[in-house]
Symmetry: C2
Subunit: 373 residues, 2 copies
C-alpha cells in the first residue's frame, strides 16, 4: 500500500449480499479457526495472548446522574486479535450491549468489526458485525456438534429463542441432514412457538415448542443453549438423556451434577485460563465469575470438585488428535463456548474477500496523503 489509505465499508445489507447468512460455510470457516487455535497460530489480547477483550464496566451506582449504570446485558467490549493461516490479519470487534435496546426496536447488542493490515495497521474494512457475530456464535457449537456426539442426532433441543440460538440452530441443522425434530423453549411460550413455526418453514423439519425446559430437552440428542444472561432458568442434570451433547453459547445456572457428572469440553483452554487470571486480578473473583459463561465451572474447579483446566480438553485438541484416538462421548458432554474475536475476524475476512471480488460495499478514504508522518 502507498501513502493513500482507503478501506471498505460494509453495512449489514452489504454483509448479507456478501453471504454472511451462509451458515454452512461459516461452520467450515470456524472449524478452520479451531485448527489454528489448537496449533497456536493466533494472538488475542494482552500479554498472555488469550484475553477475551476489555470492557467498559458500568458501576452499580454513581454520583454522576448521566453515567451509565450496570443493567441487564449492559456493557461495551473491545476484542482485538490477530489470526494466522490464510486469514493473516489483525482486527477488533467493538460492541455495546443493553437489554433495553429491544424496547427501541434495536438488537440487544450493536456490533462493528474492523480488520487491519497486520503490518501497517491501516484499516482494510469496517463492517456491521451483528450478523457476523451471530453467525460465528452459531457456527461454533455446530463445529462441536460435528465432533462431540455419541451418534448422529435425531432430536435437537434449543433453549433460548433469540438471535444467537437462531444462528446456532441454523448452523447445526446445516450439519445434520438426518435431524427429525427440533424442540424450542423460551421464557414465553409464544416466543418458542414462533421459533418453532419459523424453523419448520425454513428447514422442513418438524418443530415444536415446549412449555418447560425439562420437556424441551427430554428426548434430545443435541441441546443448544443460548438464553439471556438475565434468564432465571436453573438446569437439572436429571432432565437430560444420559448420552446427550449440550452446547453452551451463553451463561447458565445448573445443579452441581450438571457440571460434575459431565465431560466438559472447552472451546479454548487458554482463553479460560486467561479468564481465571483476570478474575483473580479483578479483586473480586466471585463477582467476575458471575459475569462469565465459565464461572460456575471455575468455582467447582477452585473447590476441587472437577478437573482443573490443565487436565482438561478443548475442541482444538480433539480436532488435532488422529481420528482413531479422538475423544468419543459416552456419557453427557457439555461444550462451553465463550466467544473469541478470532472467529469474528475469520468470518469477517471471508466476507470481506467476497465483497472485494463482487464489488460490494463503499470505499472510504482515510487520507489521500497523510497530513503528518
Amino acid at each position: 500500500m502507498g501513502a493513500r489509505t482507503e478501506f471498505r465499508y460494509l453495512s449489514e445489507a452489504d454483509c448479507i449480499a456478501a453471504g454472511v447468512l451462509d451458515a454452512s460455510r461459516c461452520v467450515d470457516v470456524c472449524e478452520e479457526v479451531f485448527g489454528l487455535l489448537a496449533a497456536g497460530d493466533y494472538l488475542m489480547g494482552g500479554p498472555n495472548h488469550n484475553s477475551h477483550g476489555i470492557g467498559i464496566v458500568f458501576p452499580a451506582a454513581s454520583p454522576f446522574p448521566n453515567m451509565p449504570l450496570a443493567g441487564p446485558d449492559r456493557r461495551f467490549v473491545a476484542m482485538p486479535a490477530y489470526l494466522g493461516g490464510r486469514f493473516d490479519v489483525c482486527g477488533n470487534k467493538w460492541y455495546g450491549s443493553n437489554q433495553a435496546n429491544t424496547l427501541r426496536g434495536l438488537p440487544r447488542s450493536v456490533l462493528t468489526l474492523m480488520l487491519n493490515d497486520k503490518d501497517t495497521g491501516e484499516p482494510l474494512t469496517l463492517m456491521s458485525a451483528n450478523l457476523i457475530s451471530a453467525a460465528r456464535t452459531g457456527a461454533v457449537p455446530a463445529v462441536a456438534s460435528r465432533h462431540l456426539i455419541a451418534r448422529k442426532p435425531e432430536v435437537l433441543a434449543a433453549i433460548g429463542c433469540g438471535v444467537i440460538n437462531e444462528a446456532a440452530v441454523t448452523a447445526i441443522v446445516s450439519q445434520h441432514p438426518q435431524l427429525q425434530r427440533i424442540v424450542f423453549h423460551d421464557r414465553t411460550l409464544a416466543k418458542a412457538q414462533k421459533a418453532a413455526h419459523e424453523a419448520q418453514e425454513r428447514f422442513g423439519i418438524t418443530a415444536v415448542a415446549a412449555e418447560t425446559a425439562q420437556d424441551c430437552v427430554r428426548d434430545a440428542d443435541l441441546v443448544t443453549i443460548a438464553a439471556s444472561r438475565t434468564s432465571p432458568l436453573v438446569l437439572r442434570a436429571s432432565w437430560f438423556r444420559a448420552d446427550v451433547t449440550i452446547l453452551l453459547s451463553g451463561p447458565v445456572t445448573a445443579d452441581e451434577e450438571f457440571w460434575t457428572e459431565s465431560s466438559i469440553i472447552y472451546d479454548n483452554l487458554k482463553l479460560h485460563e486467561a479468564y481465571v487470571e483476570e478474575a483473580i486480578t479483578s479483586g473480586d473473583k466471585q463477582a467476575y465469575y458471575d459475569g462469565v459463561i465459565g464461572g460456575p465451572i471455575y468455582r467447582l474447579i477452585d473447590e476441587g470438585r472437577i478437573a482443573p483446566l490443565e487436565d482438561s480438553v478443548d475442541l482444538g485438541r480433539v480436532l488435532l488428535t488422529p481420528e482413531q484416538n479422538r475423544y468419543r462421548p459416552s456419557g453427557r458432554t457439555v461444550f462451553v463456548a465463550c466467544g473469541m474475536a478470532v472467529f469474528d475476524i475469520a468470518w469477517g475476512y471471508d466476507l470481506y474477500q467476497r465483497a472485494l471480488d463482487q464489488g460490494i460495499g463503499q470505499s472510504l478514504t482515510l487520507w489521500e496523503e497523510p497530513h503528518a508522518r
Copy 2:
C-alpha cells in the same frame, strides 16, 4: 434513535475541516477532561475502570512464518472509555503502530476512533484519529504547562521532532505568548533544523537546533520530551535548570537523580495504579515496566526510592485544589503523561459536533432496519 442506524464518517481531511488542528481549543478541551478525571466522571477499561487499554502483543519469535513479530513501536491497541460531563459518550480508539511504516510513507501509527451512543451502543461516528490523537497528546502537556510552572516560560526545549512533539510545541506555544526561543533536538541534526525552521515560520519565534540533548535543555524553563520508544537517549538531571518543568509524553531513560530529585506530577494516579496492577499480573513485571512511560518510576517506587503512588499528586488534583493552596513548583518538576482514551473521546466529540453543525463528512447507514433483533 429509531431502528434505522446511521453514523458519520470523518476522514482525516474532514477532521481538518472540523478544526482538529486548532491547538488552543484542544488545550481547553483537555483541561476540561482533567477536571472530569479528578472528579471521577469517566470510566476507562476493565474492572478497575482505569486500564489504558488492551493490546495485541507480538511475540519475539514464532513458529508461524506469517505471524507479526515484536519490533520497534510495533503493536495494536484498543482503548475503550466512557467520558461524562458535556461529552457523555462512549468510544474506542483503535490503532496499529509500526516504526517500519515510515519507510512506506505512512505515519508510524494508523489510528481510528469510534464514538457510540452510551445507551444503545450505536455508532455515532468513525473518525480518522491520527490528528485527533496527536492534538490531544500535544494538548495534555500544554495543560500541565499552564499550571506546573515556577514562572512564565521564555525558553522552550523540545527533545524529539516527530508528530507528537510538533503537536506539543504547537499547543504549548498557544498558551505562552511571552516565549522568546524554542530549541529543538533530535537524533539527527537535520531533523532538528527542519523542526526549528518550520517553528520559526509558523510561530514567529526564534527557533534553533541543538546538536546534543544537553545543549537543547540548558537554558529552558520548559522542556517537552516525546522521543521514539527506540531512542537511545539517556537524560541527566544535571543538564537542566534547577526550576525547570519537564513534560514527558513518551518513555525516556534517565539517571536516577532525574527521578529521585524531582517533583513528579502524574496525569492520572489511578491510571498508573492500573499499570502497576497489570505489570504484576502480566507475569513479568520488569518486562512490562520496560514498555510503559512510567516504568522507571514504578521501579524506583518498588525500591522505596521515591514516594509511592498513593502519596503522590496528579494534575487533576492540582486543578481541583483552590488556587491559594495549589501545588507551586520550586525545584525541578516532571509531568508524566501516558495517553488516555478519554482525551481522544473529548476532542473527537468536540470535532464531531462541529462536523454535524457544518455538514462535514459522510453519512453511513449501518442498517435501514436491523435484520435480527
